[in-house]
Symmetry: D2
């Protein structure tokens, strides 16, 4: 297994990552805990831990000046979130690679680049999204 992890190091595929998470979980006998509702709760909790890193703080003015320790912690929290997302996908037989690509395609259609790039602010972006036919666009 460890050799496999190393092997994947250069070019981890989304599918390989999803399988790696499955192995990690299964080896520990944790599949039984991974009911979708609880995994959704866990994703929300991890997202909140990421958010906590920005609480009471101004936005870092320039990314280049980001404190190295903070960057490492953000990376870890991001990983926690994405790993739990893989747990959810595994629990429900969802192909992460497929839903990611589908969503990006859908978003590309929803927000046509040429129109959106001209928008002055985010409110204008939103107005582009909602087509005239839909009555007051939900999200």
């Amino acid at each position: 297994m460890n050799s496999e992890v190393v092997a994947l190091d250069d070019e981890l595929t989304v599918e390989g990552f999803q399988r790696l998470v499955d192995e990690y979980v299964s080896e520990r006998g944790w599949r039984k805990y991974h009911k979708p509702k609880d995994v959704a709760i866990s994703i929300a909790i991890e997202s909140s831990e990421l958010l906590e890193l920005f609480q009471w703080k101004p936005d870092p003015p320039e990314t280049g000046k980001l404190d190295k320790g903070l960057k490492a912690r953000i990376g870890e929290e991001l990983a926690d979130i994405v790993i739990y997302c893989a747990c959810m996908a595994n629990a429900l037989d969802i192909d992460m690679s497929e839903v990611l690509l589908d969503k990006i395609k859908k978003n590309r259609r929803k927000y046509p680049a040429e129109k959106v790039a001209k928008a002055k602010d985010w409110d204008e972006v939103r107005s582009i999204r909602s087509k005239p036919s839909e009555k007051n666009g939900d999200d």
Copy 2:
């Protein structure tokens, strides 16, 4: 670009996904909105939208019986979360593939499979995690 998307379809790598999100965002001129604090807020909001799909509902008793429409919506919300995680990684020059692999390795050490698999419940798992030297004080 679209041809590239199709080409990636079979074996999307984490790095390729991260680049794809970057293109999607850059083409729309959205990099300027992606301040880390706001992206962290967005991840939390999307996580809450995923959670909403389970609100007031018992856990689906068996995954196989999961309603197809619900499964599709869960997939979309998962994608939204992971896409925003990629936005954060892009905004801060974080290599997602690297932080994902690092975190799985770290978790493997933190929760040794052979010990953890014998735990009767999650509380016992937690007690394994905290080594005798640390005086409780987990998060």
Copy 3:
């Protein structure tokens, strides 16, 4: 101040509570930190800490059997959330008592008791909420 706190003990009003939070915050020189966006982040983080108390656990089968320590921790997390809500109200000159009563009145109209009480499940409750005139009323 402490005498006031004691005096309020028997019949704390919402307005008195809001003032008490204001005093607590002002005495510490914390008003300057309480920008609405950061307070909203803090409310989300505290809500997540409450949620964490239920992570990986089945619903307590009967409230009467709830572990006393757990009940105390839930009470504390609830208090943290409501205290931050008062901070937000104070930061924006919102009268909590007023918005609470307004919202309950609004909800009473939105969900007429006699109709809603007959609903078989939550999905039926939702369908009552959306009046025939609104086209598929999401929230």
Copy 4:
């Protein structure tokens, strides 16, 4: 009932508010839905809806200039959160007034006003909180 609501209008007590929420919920037959785990999920979802009002936006530079419509929406979201907190308290026989006062007292001790008011930033506030005897690492 409505007459009572009106009567309470001038000086809503926390206890009266908690009772009002109980009546609202009980009349609709909703107590059965209010399992603590689901109520905690609901509080998190409402908190996220509040957060959404600040997504992608700079902090309002001055409270006085806050858009009136936005202020009303913030008030409504705050109310939703606090109402669900009352639902949780009702579901678990928690006296909100008591836990609120207890928490404020506890926080007053944890952050002594005279010391905290001199702190230059939030990091210094945190260092005051953790007493020398505890080896860092609470929250």
